[in-house]
Amino acid sequence: MTNTLNVRRFVILGLLPALVLYSLFVFVPVIWSAYYGFFDWKGIGAAKFIGLKNYVEVIHDPVFWRALKNNVIFVLASVLGQLPLALVLAIVLYKSNPLQRFLRSAIFMPMVMSSVIIGMIWQYIYHPQIGILNFLLDAVGLSSWKLQWLSDDKIAIFSLIPPLLWSFVGLYLIIFISALQNIPGEIHDAALIDGAGGLRKIVSITLPMIWSTVQVAIILCISGSLKSFDLVYVMTKGGPAHSTELLATYMYNSTFSSYRYGYGSAISTSIIIISLLFIGTSQWLTSRKSKQEAKGGHA
């Protein structure tokens, strides 16, 4: 038999590598980032303590707000575009005949591709001279619709949404499919007997049954959209004229292109605060909604 002392030693020994690695590289950096935000530092030489100056500058920086607005556009596009699309696809693809399997695999595939490759492919699609999108518009006689997809600062941010949806819709599709497969078959049968079919069934039975999954999906959308960096960095680097700047690309550009480590850290800290605020708000909203629905059900 193992004695208590041995068990205690094993507990400590077993948790230690994970705790050290995780604290040092994931958790502590978050705190350090907040701390570095109080300094003026170019990456070399002495760091100068400047109090809240960086944080005040963040609040007054129009580019920061532009980046935040773009992040919000991404969040909205994901929550309002990706999730409904994924949900509809999941409802028609959750069974497993060969065509459904094929479609599922096809839609999920971009998830395993590097976002660098995805970004580069879409750069070619949007290319003003040799891009297949403008080529296609020419071919069908819509030459007047041709645009400078990525270099027009008014539309560039919207041009980034299709690649974003294309990359991630598969993730939510599979998440929703798993949730739908967990709904017992009797519930579908009962709905049929009651004469609830099509849209009504989806709204009144399917959606409430998988609401907790929808909530998780919303959180994933928010944290995922705030994590967007690779795709935008590869496709536009945040330009033209900051029009596609995201919080993460702005943080990167401020730190590693303008060598303002303190300012970059202050932006990093804002990213964490904003993402917690977003997630908290969405949790509050969706849980309120499910409570209301529960009440409505009883009435």
Binding site: A18, F25, W122, I174, I177, T213, S223, K227, S268
Partner: protein, 294 residues
């Protein structure tokens, strides 16, 4: 989650009611549209592979359709001039080492959390799980400074350590959930036989958690294999660049030699696609595991 592979016996929502022929027509059109959608999502990849075999002139003038003469030479040139071999080896090294570290460290921690009694268990699990919400990019600056001070920038460790650390929250979450569901009797018998804790962990718990470990494998391997931002910030030496970073830099240099760039992209994307095609269901399950259990 386990239901992904299972055929459900429930009635399809779209076969409801009496089977009028108008309904059948509608459903046929519906499936045709859906198939078109599926093919459309595959098109960018198809376009990439096809275009990689074209000459520059053909690429610009005939973006659709198959190449007239398949330029295999593009691939040969891409492999040679972009040091793809080195980048490939780098990606394999950092991904495999961080995967092995992740599996061992997270399995050990999950075994402790899920199977042993000690104070503060919930707190420790919560501490790890919170990490799933931390946006990776908000740690780039402090990590860069930390690694500079540890002088590991521009070494494999600059990628292996953060890849492992960032894989831990999800890995521990998935493994702990799995191990908690294993009945207690399994190790009790082993303890009575005199097997020590390490023995139970290595000989009983690891084999039992194989399904969960394969989920973790898929998730963390794909993450480190495809990662761009850590590599971009922590690696500047060209001999240490991983595939995504090296492709991105390569494309900047060869902007107008399209066949060459596209061939390099194809070489980089093919391995993940092959693995995906071989293990589709497992990959889909693995990549959504953290989300579904949450």
């Amino acid at each position: 989650m386990s239901g992904l592979l299972v055929e459900k016996s429930s009635v399809s929502p779209f076969k409801a009611g009496s089977g009028a022929s108008a309904k059948k027509w509608k459903s046929t059109i519906f499936w045709i549209l859906l198939t078109i959608y599926g093919l459309l999502t595959l098109y960018p990849l198809f376009w990439l592979v096809i275009s990689a075999f074209k000459t520059n002139a053909e690429f610009m003038n005939r973006p659709f359709g198959l190449p007239e003469a398949w330029q295999v030479d593009n691939f040969v040139r891409a492999w040679k001039s972009s040091k793809m071999g080195t980048a490939f080896a780098n990606s394999v090294i950092v991904s495999v080492v961080s995967l092995v570290l992740t599996l061992f460290i997270s399995a050990l921690a999950s075994f402790v959390i899920a199977r042993l009694k000690f104070k503060g268990k919930g707190l420790i699990l919560g501490f790890f799980v919170v990490g799933m919400l931390i946006p990776i990019h908000s740690t780039l600056v402090p990590l860069f400074i930390l690694m500079k001070q540890m002088s590991v920038l521009n070494t494999y460790w600059a990628l292996i350590l953060p890849y492992t650390a960032f894989a831990l929250p999800t890995a521990i979450f998935v493994l702990t959930a799995y191990l908690t569901s294993v009945p207690k009797e399994i190790e009790e018998a082993a303890f009575i036989d005199g097997t020590g804790l390490w023995g139970v962990f290595l000989r009983i718990m690891l084999p039992i958690s194989l399904p969960a470990l394969s989920t973790v494998t898929i998730l963390s391997f794909l993450h480190s294999w495809n990662d761009f931002s850590f590599a971009l910030v922590f690696i500047s030496k060209s001999s240490l660049k991983t595939l995504p970073l090296s492709i991105a830099t390569f494309a900047d240099g060869y902007q107008t030699d399209y066949g060459l760039t596209l061939a390099a992209m194809t070489i980089a994307v093919i391995p993940t696609i092959i693995v995906y095609l071989a293990f589709q269901e497992q990959v889909m399950k693995g990549m959504t595991a953290g989300a579904v259990k949450g």
